[in-house]
């Protein structure tokens, strides 16, 4: 066993015990004394964007939505239903797929060793038949249909497909009803054996347990299994222009309330992992200062009826793609987009107010502290940051080091007119 560090404490008092096992699996344990619950997350660095790859020299393009399809199929087992196996030990299990991650997790308050073993075992074993693959298509088709009725999802996916010309982040994570019907057992197996090797996965557990004991169980479980050498994986992503593909996209849906999202495509993709968190937190503070509920702009828009209280911002950043999204329900989408554009231009000239910057930073700090009370949040955030090579617990340190100058610089470079995209969903009856 290598690379063990113990007792590292961050500024807010959480200890992380980490270890990389011989088979390549990275394990991170966050014991929280006094907690009843344990939340464990077993994740692979494999998401919907990984639809083309070269494994051991062989290049493969797979149907859209396959990572998500595989996530569904992992719950299949010859002997006992996976759900039942967790139920037997009082835990609930679930999973999700994002653009760049597939994660399986359970939450439980007892029988921790059994549940950890079950989690590791069901994800590290695959049972596929042509029949059970076909059966899943009906279920996933209904999941996609459910999304089709969701205007918030539609307006968001439209935004990304307008922003990105060829990068698969523009494609819905679940794929389409057409693409999932092209998925077969063999391709699922190939994806599984490519991306579910322990060296491409991490296990993060947070909650009320003894770290030494839990690490022992994990090592024992892993030592009893053999995995081949890690495959060499080259992920193939298409060449993506820096500027957006389109400036506007409008869809019509049978909705009561129009939606409008205004986005900026990130041009500064981080080279180093440590830059990623810094850029993410800094951009968050810029956006909160500009568009948060304490901004004058928000009050004006609300007063004029251009937004409602669900108006919000979001920033997402990986080494592959990044974007800012601002918006929500908007009775007059065109007008809202124009106002945002003018306002951003003005703010770039005037600069962010120092009080607004400090307030946003203080708020981010307080919200981070409160978030640590939820072991599920800690495990989820720790996992997705770690898969991007970042330590979530550095949040306080990074927040403390941000400056107003940097924030203004970020505002200037990121929220530029040529990177801006507008996506709207309008009621079907509207012209």
């Amino acid at each position: 066993m290598t690379n063990e560090t113990r007792g590292r404490r961050d500024a807010v008092g959480i200890e992380i015990v980490e270890k990389r096992l011989d088979n390549g699996l990275s394990v991170y344990l966050a014991p929280r004394p006094g907690f009843q619950q344990t939340f464990a997350m077993f994740a692979t660095k494999y998401g919907s964007i990984d639809n083309e790859f070269i494994r051991d020299g062989k290049r493969t393009r797979v149907p859209d939505g396959i990572a998500h399809f595989l996530e569904h199929k992992m719950f299949e087992d010859e002997e006992q239903e996976v759900f039942s196996r967790f139920a037997e030990h009082g835990a609930s299990v679930n999973a999700f797929t994002t653009f760049d991650e597939t994660a399986y997790y359970f939450s439980g308050t007892s029988d921790l060793q059994e549940n950890i073993n079950t989690l590791l075992n069901f994800v590290q074993k695959i049972y596929l038949t042509d029949e059970n693959v076909d059966k899943e298509k009906g279920i996933i088709a209904q999941e996609i249909r459910m999304g089709d009725d969701n205007p918030d999802r539609k307006v968001f996916m439209d935004l990304l497909s307008a922003m990105y010309e060829s990068h698969p982040v523009r494609i819905d994570i679940a794929g389409s009803v057409e693409s999932i019907y092209k998925i077969d057992r063999e391709t699922l197996l190939e994806c599984y054996h490519t991306f579910y090797h322990p060296s491409n996965m991490i296990l993060v557990i947070a909650g009320g347990f003894d770290a030494r004991e839990v690490m022992g169980w994990i090592e024992e479980n892993q030592a009893a299994k053999s995995f081949g050498p890690p495959p060499t994986i080259e992920r193939v992503y298409p060449e993506e222009p820096t500027t957006p593909k389109a400036t506007h996209l409008e869809s019509k849906l049978p909705v009561a309330s129009p939606r409008c999202l205004i986005g900026w495509k990130e041009k500064a993709l981080p080279e180093e992992n440590v830059d990623l968190m810094r850029q993410e937190l800094l951009t968050g503070i810029v956006l909160d200062a500009l568009f948060g509920k304490t901004s004058e702009f928000y009050s004006e828009l609300l007063k004029e009826g251009l937004i409602d209280k669900g108006f919000s911002w979001e920033y997402e950043l990986t080494s592959q793609y990044g974007y800012t999204v601002v918006g929500g329900n908007a009775p007059k989408p065109g007008e809202l987009a124009k106002r945002v554009e003018t306002y951003v231009a003005k703010m770039k000239d005037n600069g962010i107010d120092e009080d607004a910057f400090e307030r946003a930073r203080k708020k981010a700090l307080g919200r981070f502290i409160m978030s640590l009370d939820q072991v599920s949040y800690v495990a989820r955030s720790y996992t997705s940051y770690r898969l991007r090579g970042v330590d979530f617990l550095q949040t306080v340190e990074v927040l403390d080091s941000l400056t107003l100058n940097e924030a203004n610089k970020r505002l200037g470079e990121h929220l530029s007119k040529e990177q801006m995209v507008v996506s709207t969903v309008v009621p079907k009856s509207a012209s």
């Binding site: 139920a87 030990h89 308050t109 009906g138 279920i139 089709d148 049978p254 009826g305 209280k309």
Partner: protein
């Protein structure tokens, strides 16, 4: 750990649960008042109005700045509905920043919550003509936008049918066509009537340094506007009666949807306070509360008819609902399979394994509450509303002692009421 201590004065009650394990301090003030047809719309606007400003912080922005300055304390109001009652809440989640600052963040956040609830006057903040006009417009859009969440909309429509002719059938957000009649004067009078009508329950949950002193302060502050009235009886929730129907009524509505929503509503006559509540929870777990339940295994796993299929029991009204999203052409098959699962339980087809898994699942859900102090306040509040406070440990013991016969009996008491089907414009049925 889950035991609250309560300080009361008249109809004001402060429930305290101190703990030191977490970094969030929660202060919640809840008022409940009976839903009345004539005032439901005006009442439903109030919690949204409160965040529009107070005498001390006359705009939403001023309020938000004050909250963000308290290390991002979340100051919020919300509008809930429990059976035939509106539940208004003004609350704060406050980060424990005692290591970062000497300021009394808790006292300031508590003041802010009290101001949001109490510190209004006609013409100021929340009740200025301008703010009222803005909020009426937002509320109209809020009601309209609720239709865009198909699953939520269908469930609400189904539950309203199940609660027919009772106050529990009234919509939480009120009626869109009554918004035009509201004025700032009318709303302000409605606001004042809340002080006369409501029962008040405040919660202090978390690492408060002196929770009891804060409780006393809250009682004093609230006592100024919620006058003591010894003649009134407590507002308690009753479950919907079980008389009703021998068969389902079917309500079909059409919208332009890609997926149809099939919701089946039942009455059980059993709510949180009932001695059969644990049996009903176990029955619901076997039926459709979990991924090991009959509905999930049969509707989804065996027949691939749905991605999502659940049953849910409302601990206040005692209504039970099955919710699923399907292809409309599968209506008959889905309905038949759901019927079969309930009939199977009623006929005694319940395995030891199903009972054991369901108990373990519920045990997990309740034990997890101990890590979520704010959720414990909800649990306690269910007891307040229904008139029977339950301890989590006692609840777990009660669940463990539920037998197969109890589950079968609980299922036999379930009475069909309404099938609500939301489907595409061109679909028949």
């Amino acid at each position: 750990m889950s035991t609250f201590t309560t300080r009361s004065d008249g109809r004001i009650h402060v429930h305290i649960l101190p703990h030191t394990r977490f970094r969030t301090k929660d202060l919640m003030i809840r008022l409940h008042t009976p839903l009345v047809r004539d005032t439901v719309t005006a009442m439903s606007l109030l919690p949204y109005m409160w965040m529009n400003g107070t005498k001390t912080h006359p705009s939403t922005r001023d309020l938000q700045i004050a909250a963000d300055d308290l290390y991002g304390s979340v100051i919020r109001t919300s509008l809930g509905k429990r059976a035939g009652y509106h539940v208004f809440e003004a609350a704060a989640s406050i980060p424990d920043v005692s290591r970062l600052t000497a300021d009394d963040v808790v006292a300031q956040a508590a003041d802010l919550v009290c101001q949001v609830l109490l510190d209004h006057a006609a013409g100021h903040g929340a009740f200025s003509d301008e703010a009222v006009a803005q909020e009426i417009d937002l509320h109209r859009r809020r009601i309209e936008a609720a239709r865009d969440d198909k699953m939520g909309f269908a469930l609400q429509r189904c539950m309203a049918e199940v609660a027919e002719d009772s106050p529990a059938a009234l919509p939480r957000l009120g009626f869109i066509d009554e918004l035009g009649d509201l004025t700032s004067d009318k709303l302000y009078r409605t606001y004042e009537s809340v002080f006369q009508a409501s029962e008040v329950h405040a919660y202090l949950v978390g690492p408060f340094e002196n929770a009891h002193a804060l409780a006393e302060k809250l009682i004093r502050e609230l006592g100024r506007v919620f006058p003591s009235d010894s003649s009134r009886t407590a507002f308690r929730v009753e479950p919907l009666s079980r008389e009703a129907r021998a068969e389902f009524q079917t309500v079909t509505e059409h919208q332009d949807v890609a997926q149809a929503q099939l919701d089946m509503g039942y009455r059980t006559g059993v709510n949180f306070a009932d001695e059969n509540y644990p049996s009903l929870l176990m029955m619901n777990g076997v039926f459709g509360g979990f991924a090991h339940s009959k509905l999930f295994l049969n509707v989804r796993e065996k027949h691939s008819l749905a991605y999502s299929v659940w049953s849910h029991h409302d601990g206040m009204t005692g209504a039970l609902a099955v919710m699923t999203g399907i292809d409309p052409k599968n209506y008959d098959q889905a309905r038949q399979i759901i019927d079969q699962q309930l009939s199977a339980i009623q006929a005694g087809d319940v395995s030891d394994e199903e009972i054991n898994f369901t108990f373990r699942g519920l045990q997990n859900q309740y034990t997890v509450l101990l890590d979520q102090p704010a959720a414990l306040a909800n649990w306690h509040y269910n007891g307040v509303l229904s008139g029977k406070e339950r301890d989590i440990e006692d609840m777990l013991k009660a669940l463990q002692s539920v037998t197969k016969e109890d589950i079968v009996q609980a299922a036999q008491a379930v009475q069909p009421h309404t099938i609500y089907f939301l489907t595409g414009e061109g679909d028949a049925s």
